[in-house]
Amino acid sequence: METSSGLQNNLSITGKRLLEFFTMVAGIFMFSVDFFKNVFFPPYEFAEIKKHMDELGVKTLPIISITGFIIGLVLAMQSEPVMIRFGAGSYLPGMVALSVVRELGPVITALIFAGRVSSGIGAELGSMRVTEQIDAMEVSAIHPFKFLVVTRVLACTLILPMLTVYAIFLGLFGGFLAIFLSQNISLQLYINAIIRSVEFADFIPGIVKTFFFGFIVGIVGSYKGYNTDNGTVGVGRASTSSVVVSSLLILVFDMLLGKITVSLWS
């Protein structure tokens, strides 16, 4: 009897969690629909978009720089012994470049960006919600969704591809440093090896994905913050769950977009 009641209890908790999850997914979807309903119509808050792009870019630049550099460095260091064992040491620059350009650069930059920015947006909008600042905007006949959400989502969507390109170049430099230290390769040779292996078409899928990743970071952070309740506890929860949900969605969309972009550009 006790086992049966415990099982029922577990099933009911799982059911509740699943319901919450699907409610959240539906909420994010409807929030995205609202975004597209508002983004094309005036007033256009260009100054606010530029301000957010500046802030997001500057705030995340140090951590993106370190991450980008280390991705390339570690990838080259770890792959080198295996590649040499199979007599493919000369393909190492090309392998590092392809991995960083097509997959590691975009995805890891997006995950770092999600951790830094999505939580910030969730916390900022959440505290504006609980201190009635969003209500104050609404009562002043100002559309808070347009001013707070549309501007942030657009800023994230536009700035992440730029940060990714920057992270990719630093990753390639990290790869060069690792190979230079072990094989004393010249920079010219390294660049030539990359140019032989990587085509411009390899850049496109990776960069196209980052527009989607930037949108995910902005929309999830804004959704969680904008719908915060339960005071300061709710703000903390919005901040944490923004990171978890946006990271998860980035990985899921990476899988889907990876398949689509490869079939489109292969």
Binding site: S127, E132, Q133, D135, M137, V139, S140, A141, I142
Partner: protein, 251 residues
């Protein structure tokens, strides 16, 4: 000047009935004070009036227009002439005092930069905080925040102002100053005002009419003097502490 008519307004949260079939008429240039215990639905009433909350049933007519039926565009046209002072002042944290004040002016009206500057200086002078123009909200005390909140509320020269506990959390002197400021503003701008408060001293300075909410209904409506001398056990109990404070020379 705006007339507000509330007809059979009800609002519940789950099983909890907060407003139960409330009807109230507020005349032009009247200052109506709404009393009630914490959780009695005073703030909910204010939020329903500006449609920050949707009532379950009933009508709210502002200048003869039922705000429950108007489009968002029309509602925002009405909101341009309604001021709302939040209990926490709700200043925008990321903006300076100047930016807080010019925010509604830039977005809703076509004032030139010089006109905006003059308006900002005028309202700051009214609330005696001219020196705080470039400060951030985090640098202001509670009383200063309330004053800036009030300045932001009146900068658009609204015809209806809703005050949600304008003196809560302030010392008696600041509280009295804010109350007197509200009366002066009412005289200057000829506004209609609805003030939610627990503060009898504030009410005595401001009110031309009073309403007491209890259990979701209007328990008393009328003159403030009669309200405080009413023999109703709830009203006697409600105002006893406040009266003690007045007798002890708080004014």
């Amino acid at each position: 000047m705006i007339e507000v008519e509330i007809k059979n307004l009800s609002k519940s949260f789950g099983d909890l009935v907060v407003l139960d079939n409330i009807s109230l008429n507020i005349q032009e240039q009247e200052n109506v004070v709404v009393f009630g215990r914490s959780g009695s639905g005073k703030s909910v009433l204010l939020k329903c009036i500006v449609r920050l909350m949707e009532p379950d049933s009933g009508d709210i007519l502002i200048e003869g227009q039922n705000i429950r039926n108007v489009s968002l565009k029309k509602l925002n046209e009405l909101r341009k002439y309604i001021g709302f002072l939040f209990q926490s002042a709700a200043l925008y944290d990321s903006m300076s005092v100047r930016e807080n004040l010019e925010f509604p002016l830039i977005r809703n009206f076509n004032f030139s930069p010089a006109e905006r500057e003059r308006k900002i200086k005028d309202v700051l002078e009214k609330v005696s905080l001219e020196d705080s123009i470039d400060k951030m909200p985090a640098e202001l005390s509670g009383g200063m925040k309330k004053r800036i909140g009030l300045a932001r509320t009146i900068i658009t020269e609204p015809r209806l102002i809703l005050y949600d506990e304008p003196t809560t959390g302030l010392d008696p002197i600041t509280s009295k100053e804010i109350s007197q400021l509200i009366v002066e503003l009412q005289k200057d701008l000829h506004t209609t005002s609805i003030i939610v408060t627990h503060d009898l001293i504030c009410a005595k300075i401001i009110a031309t009419h009073a309403v007491v909410l209890k259990d979701g209904k209007i328990r008393y409506e009328g003159n403030l003097e009669k309200l405080t001398s009413n023999g109703d056990p709830f009203l006697k109990d409600f105002f006893s502490n406040e009266i003690l404070e007045v007798k002890n020379g708080r004014i």
